[in-house]
Amino acid sequence: MNHGTSSTRREFLKTATGATATGIFAAPYIITSKALGDDTTPPASDRIVMGGIGIGNQGGGDQGAFLGRGDVQYVAVCDVRKKWRDGAKDRVNGHNKNSDCAAYNDFRELLARDDIDAVHIATPDHWHAIMVIEACRAGKDVYCQKPETLTLREGPLMIAAARRYSRIVSGGSQRVREDFNNLVGPCWNGELGAIKSVNVRDFGPLSQLCNLPAQETPADIDWEMWLGPAPWQPYNSGRCDGNFGTGGGSWRSYVDYSGGSLTDWGAHLFGGATFASDVCELQPTAAVFHKADGQLGAYVTLTYPNGLEIHHRRPDQLKPEGPQIDGGKIQIHGDGVKRDPKPAPSYKGGGGIHGDFIHCVKTREKPFRDIQLGVNTMAALHLLTIAYRLQRTVKWDAATQQFPGDEEAGRMIDRARRQPWFLS
């Protein structure tokens, strides 16, 4: 079921099993029971053939979710670390009870396979845009972990590739729908009235420059490929460790690979905040920087075209009066004037966000976390980041994807990639 190739898997298997098969199918042809399917497993022609790129901590979780589905045929893994790659392959083979899983160091080899319908990507953030775009160009549907982008410029290019080739591209924040149900209900059922402001409490540092000392590069990592488009720097285990830390000692801490906790946890929290307050189809018009003032710490306010304000770490002393829901990390204030309820979007198909993706691969509907929505959340987070780094307000034009009249902020829309990698 590789949409866009000259023959579909269904068409192929129909020919192979037909009573009047001729040519290469005239000789006895054994169809395994697995290919035909059974009570729990659809026939091969109805299974989505998948591969995974970046099978570390988070990628392993995604692999498990897809591998466990009867409507997915998992056939290939890719990771630049041999230990992860071999472990991921063994897991697939163990599940499939064969030794057929292919293992690649170079993602382009996996994407070149005509039999693969879809891929999931969980590499460090600096690789996401290039891989998503290449995957779309290769005719694959994509499930890409959050944070979907490292820079503002990447988002529109990823969306363009998805739309150009009619690909299903889903972002990977399961928490947007699953962690904030206590907020979604009162907001979407109209109980809170019109949402006036949201506050997302502090959740950790911006990414920082990595200046760790050089260590001997282990034999089991392709360091050039791990770095990819990021600036060359010497190997250090703390630079590339995949633990979820953002205070140092993990790639999530470092500016060349990630936006730090602000984008890593921000993708969940701001994804949840913008979903609950129904602005996830919009991008902010400004990130307003409030300097520290006496006891009040610095904070940033994102302003939206509909008048909504989403604050990041607004001091409690500035909390407005009026109806609110306090969800811990996220507080939402409304005007209390009851409105008509709206049905809140949710996953299609069963099995959480992974099931939503697979359902949409089959039906070609837009997934819950369509890439546009992921990009909108990331745009908000990149604006926050730029405001914090420059320590001033920046204004954003979502239509042109520019900072009008602000050359300095404009320089931070993107960054040059290390040759031979480039965005297209």
Partner: protein, 239 residues
């Protein structure tokens, strides 16, 4: 203010011994000065001059890397000569582009174009991508020449750059390109990108012309699908 000046002096001195594994906090006053000099052209020029002096001195790769990151934010025409000199050097070329790609001055594009004539292989890929990322229409003729490079990475980078620039001249160059086979998918992708740009500009006929050619039977199904959707969009927008 005298305190800030002393801290900045110390930071510039720290560059001499800065390297991977040394204390990056020693350079923190540079980052603070970038923020504090916003809106003060004189102070910013002075800071830039100090950074250029570091770039031209015998400091570590890591130190030059740091300077290039700073010049990406505050660099001006003044930085271009020092950065250009690094474009042809393998260990510095990327970070020189890191700054040059972001400096709006036309002289930054000139420097990239000059380098394009002298570099090859991966360095050429990098320079092409930076010209494309700048949307540098004046580079189209030079970039077009690179479409015919025997190195598929160079040819692909040239195609991608033309797709990013997406002027009528760039689209024309892509339409007649006959690159090495491995670069062809990027050429086609860039032609589609040009068509989309023309659609966004209201140039329906120019977009449709591209889509009609790509909808032909000789193209892979995925491309025909993209082109057919493009033709449909042109028709819908015409109504």
């Amino acid at each position: 203010m005298a305190d800030d000046a002393a801290k900045l002096d110390a930071a510039c001195e720290a560059f001499k011994t800065y390297n991977w594994g040394t204390d990056k906090n020693a350079l923190q006053p540079i980052d603070e000065a970038i923020v504090s000099t916003y809106g003060d052209a004189t102070a910013r020029s002075a800071l830039e001059a100090r950074l250029i002096a570091v770039l031209e001195s015998d400091v570590s790769r890591d130190a030059k890397d740091y300077v290039c990151r700073a010049l990406a934010v505050i660099g001006s025409i003044a930085s271009v000569p020092s950065l250009s000199a690094l474009l042809t050097k393998e260990e510095f070329s990327h970070m020189a582009r890191f700054a040059l790609e972001r400096i709006p001055a036309g002289q930054a594009a000139d420097a990239l174009r000059t380098a394009l004539a002298t570099v090859s292989g991966d360095l050429k890929v990098g320079v092409l991508s930076s010209l494309g990322n700048r949307g540098d229409a004046a580079s189209v003729t030079q970039i077009t020449a690179a479409l015919g490079d025997a190195d598929p990475k160079v040819a692909a980078a040239a195609a991608a750059a033309l797709g990013s620039i997406h002027t009528p001249e760039a689209a024309k160059a892509l339409a007649t390109a006959k690159p090495v086979a491995a670069a062809m998918p990027v050429v086609i992708d860039s032609r589609l990108a040009c068509a989309e740009a023309f659609l966004a500009q209201g140039k329906m006929e120019d977009a449709r012309a591209i889509y009609m050619l790509l909808a032909g039977e000789s193209n892979p199904k995925l491309i025909r699908l993209a082109a057919t959707r493009g033709i449909q969009t042109c028709l819908e927008q015409k109504r």
